[in-house]
C-alpha cells in the first residue's frame, strides 16, 4: 500500500465528514445547547450566584466558533482510527465494491464506538453533570468504550479462525459481542449525576446529537470509499504473465 495516498484519503475524508458534522450541528444540536445553557444560567441566578452575562455571551461566541473546527479535529481523529481498521480488514469485508465496504465498516464502527456506549452513558447537554465527578465519568465512559471496541476486535479475530459458513460466523460474532456488552452494561456503574432539567430537552438533545453522529459515520464511509477509488492507495504492481 502506498503511504501518501493512504494518509491523504484517510485525513481528507475525516476532514470532509467532520466539516459536514460541524455545520449540521450548528443547525441541529446548537439550539438545544443554547437552551440548556439558558436554563443553567437562570438556575445560577435563582441560587443567588453572581453571573456576568457579558462574559457568558463572549464564552458562547468562542464555544460556537469552535463547533466546525472541533468537528474537523473529531473527524480526522476518528477517520485515522477508521483508516487503520480499514487497512487491515478491507480484504475480509464482504463484496468487491470498496465504497460499499467502507460504508459497511463505518456502520459497524458507529455501532460499536458510538451507539452501544451511548446506551449506557448517553450524551448530555450543558446543565447536566457535576464538575466534581468529571474524571470519574470520563473513566467510566472510556472503560465502556474500550470494552466495546476490544470485544468487537476480539470477536472478529476469533471468527476468522473458525471454520464455518459466513452466516454462522456473523451469528456467532453477534452472540458473543452481545453477551459481553450486556454483562458489561449490567456490571458497570451508572452515571452518578442526577438530571435536574427537563427530560424533554435532554431527550431531544440526545436524539439530535445521535442523528448527526450517525450521519457523520455514514458520510465518512462514503467519502472514504470515493476517495479510495479516486487515489487508489493499493500498491498495485503490474506483472506480465507468459
Amino acid at each position: 500500500m502506498r503511504s501518501l495516498p493512504f494518509l491523504l484519503v484517510t485525513l481528507v475524508s475525516g476532514g470532509v465528514a467532520g466539516t459536514i458534522l460541524g455545520i449540521v450541528n450548528l443547525g441541529v444540536v446548537e439550539p438545544y445547547i443554547d437552551k440548556a445553557i439558558q436554563l443553567e444560567t437562570q438556575n445560577e441566578i435563582r441560587a443567588g450566584e453572581n453571573v456576568n452575562t457579558d462574559e457568558m455571551a463572549g464564552y458562547r461566541i468562542w464555544q460556537k466558533s469552535g463547533e466546525i473546527v472541533g468537528g474537523i479535529v473529531y473527524g480526522i481523529s476518528l477517520s485515522s482510527l477508521f483508516g487503520i481498521v480499514f487497512a487491515y480488514s478491507r480484504n475480509s469485508l464482504p463484496g468487491n465494491n470498496v465504497k460499499v465496504k467502507a460504508i459497511l465498516l463505518a456502520s459497524i464502527m458507529c455501532f460499536v464506538l458510538f451507539i452501544v456506549p451511548s446506551l449506557k452513558y448517553p450524551s448530555n447537554p450543558p446543565a447536566v453533570g457535576d464538575p466534581d465527578t468529571i474524571y470519574y465519568r470520563q473513566g467510566l465512559f472510556v472503560a465502556f468504550l474500550v470494552i466495546s471496541g476490544a470485544s468487537a476486535l476480539g470477536v472478529t479475530a476469533f471468527i476468522k479462525k473458525i471454520n464455518q459458513t459466513v452466516s454462522k460466523k456473523v451469528a456467532i460474532a453477534c452472540t458473543i459481542y452481545g453477551a459481553i456488552m450486556i454483562v458489561s452494561y449490567l456490571a458497570m456503574p451508572p452515571n452518578p449525576d442526577k438530571i435536574s432539567i427537563s427530560m424533554n430537552l435532554v431527550e431531544a438533545f440526545r436524539l439530535g446529537s445521535a442523528t448527526t453522529i450517525v450521519m457523520f459515520w455514514e458520510s465518512l464511509g462514503a467519502t472514504y470509499g470515493t476517495l479510495w477509488n479516486r487515489f487508489n492507495p493499493q500498491n498495485l504492481k503490474k506483472v506480465t504473465a507468459f
Binding site: M1, R2, S3, F6, L7, L11, G22, N25, V29, E30, I33, Y59, Q63, K64, S65, G66, E67, V69, G70, V73, Y74, I76, S77, L78, S80, L81, G83, I84, A87, Y88, F114, P117, S118, Y121, P122, S123, N124, P125, P126, G129, P131, I134, Y135, R137, Q138, F141, V142, F205, S209, A210, I213, Q234, N235, L236, K237, K238, V239, T240, A241, F242
Partner: protein, 73 residues
C-alpha cells in the same frame, strides 16, 4: 504454427505501511484527547496551572464535545 501470448495482471502487494499507521494512531489519540477529554492539560504544558482555570481548548471544543457524547463538565 506455434502461438504465444502475454497477459498483464495487476497484483496488490499486501504490505501495510507501518509509519503511516503510526502517524494515524498518534493523530487519533491527540485528536480524541483534544476534543473529548482535555480539561486544561494540553495548554498547561505551555501556560502552566492557569490553563486549568482558563480552559481555552475545553471551551473551544465545548459544543462538539457535548454533541459527540463525551462527558464535558
Amino acid at each position: 504454427m506455434r502461438m504465444s501470448y502475454t497477459r498483464q495482471l495487476l497484483i496488490e502487494r499486501p504490505d501495510i505501511p507501518k509509519v503511516a499507521i503510526g502517524i494515524l494512531a498518534a493523530m487519533m489519540l491527540f485528536g480524541l484527547f483534544s476534543v473529548g477529554f482535555d480539561q486544561g492539560q494540553l495548554f498547561s504544558l505551555v501556560e502552566g496551572k492557569e490553563a486549568f482555570d482558563s480552559n481555552w481548548l475545553h471551551e473551544f471544543v465545548h459544543d462538539m464535545r457535548h454533541a459527540a457524547g463525551f462527558p464535558c463538565h
